[in-house]
């Protein structure tokens, strides 16, 4: 059997690399104010937003309840705060990361 050579190739998806430990401030969405404009999702450099169609998420009204909602995957969110800064409804709050234990 020929032993194949080792080439410097990276194959493993970075999704196996969690970056939650980078976070100092944690964004939290107040869903009852969220109009589902998805601007937070659009501007997230970390791809930490998932698009949820779950109906259990609180919503300001019936129209928005039918729309997809942004859900933060805290495994990846580094807490940069762009989402909170860009949110037109100001419904994302940057809170002090509570799980942090030093």
């Amino acid at each position: 059997m020929v032993e194949l050579i080792l080439a410097p190739i990276a194959e493993k998806s970075s999704k196996f690399n969690h970056t939650d430990s980078w976070r100092i401030l944690k964004p939290e969405i107040e869903y009852d104010k969220c109009i589902r404009c998805m601007i937070c999702w659009k501007f997230c450099p970390d791809n930490a937003f998932e698009i949820s169609t779950g109906s259990s998420i609180p919503s300001p009204n019936e129209r928005t309840a039918k729309l997809e909602a942004p859900v933060i995957n805290y495994d990846y969110c580094k807490g940069c705060g762009i989402c909170a800064n860009e949110c037109p409804e100001k419904c994302i709050e940057m809170t002090v990361e509570s799980k942090k234990v030093i």
């Binding site: 020929v2 032993e3 194949l4 050579i5 080792l6 080439a7 410097p8 190739i9 990276a10 194959e11």
Partner: protein
Amino acid sequence: MQSAQRKYNAILTGNDAVAVGAKLARVGFISAYPITPQTTIVEKLAEMVANREIQARYVEVESEHSALAATFASELAGIRSYTATSSHGLLYMHEMLHWTAGMRLPVVMSVVNRALGPPWNIWTEQTDTMNQKDTGWMQVYCESNQEALDTILMGYRIAESEKVMLPLMSMEDAFVLSHTSEPVSIPDQEEVDGFLPPLDLKFRIDTNNPMGYGSYSTPDGPFMELKKDMIESMKNSKNTIREVTRNFAEAFGRDYSGLIEEYAMDDADYALIASGTLASTGKYVVGKMREAGRKVGLIRLRFFRPFPDEEIVKATKNLKGVGVLDRSVSYGSSGSIANEVKSSLYEKSSIPVTGFVAGLGGRDVRIEEFEKMFDYIEKGKTGNYFIGDREGN
């Protein structure tokens, strides 16, 4: 009297022979930047592409760095790729040499050995490629136009071997080979196709299998292991080289005997180690000296990387003295080949080694100078000598 016409079917310059070699290897991608004395190789290939004698893309880049960058990328996309350069052009490629080897891409490149300035000098010298000995490329120094052609064919097969996967550069001495016409046997395309199967790069770029090619590694990442694998592959390539040259001899009847070639070595007491066309002239001188009853021989170094240390030890075993001829300079040390030979012999042999540096900047190394070198070797003069300068050495 032998008939040269029975053995050969064309008269070609070294550069034309190399271009024919690339054509027969069915290279699919060529990218190059002109530099004397390499230019006629790429001119010839451009002409072949223009006349559809070869199914290849030719990209006329704006620098040598780009020539090898484009070649590297094309090879990574799975196409057998080729480039050629010389001297300062090779130096300008230096970064890409490491990159191509590190990416384990079996590119074959022709290099016409030419001196480095200043002062500008277009004539032959091996300092340009000796400077690249640590880049992970195999290095072959050719002595004839036939070998220059054949080495392109053998080169791809060696480089593309799954046990090797390292690039290879094949050298011609500027003008003395590149622009010299000699009889050459051009093999049939079908025979070449039988010898050299198409490239099948296992990790070629494929959007269905997204990967990061090159990436980066921390000290704790696989960096050292990757380098170790290159070192091992380079070492193991010796077996592949021996095997491929043997297969080539079986297929085409021309035997290059592996990493070194021994000439008149059977009962020799003294020998000179040389490479390129100096080895060719050296053989002529050895022949004359043999006629005069002197028991001398010549070891022609074909491969400088991987370095044929075992072969050198074996070939010099029964000698009383050996000389090493370098057509290159390493400031503050001895000749590059001489250093490697001494290192190979260390603890394995007590034979005296004489180092010679000659023929810099294309200065002709004449018959009398070869005789002088053999005189030095026979007298057991160790150390390093500069031969053929105006101070009468």
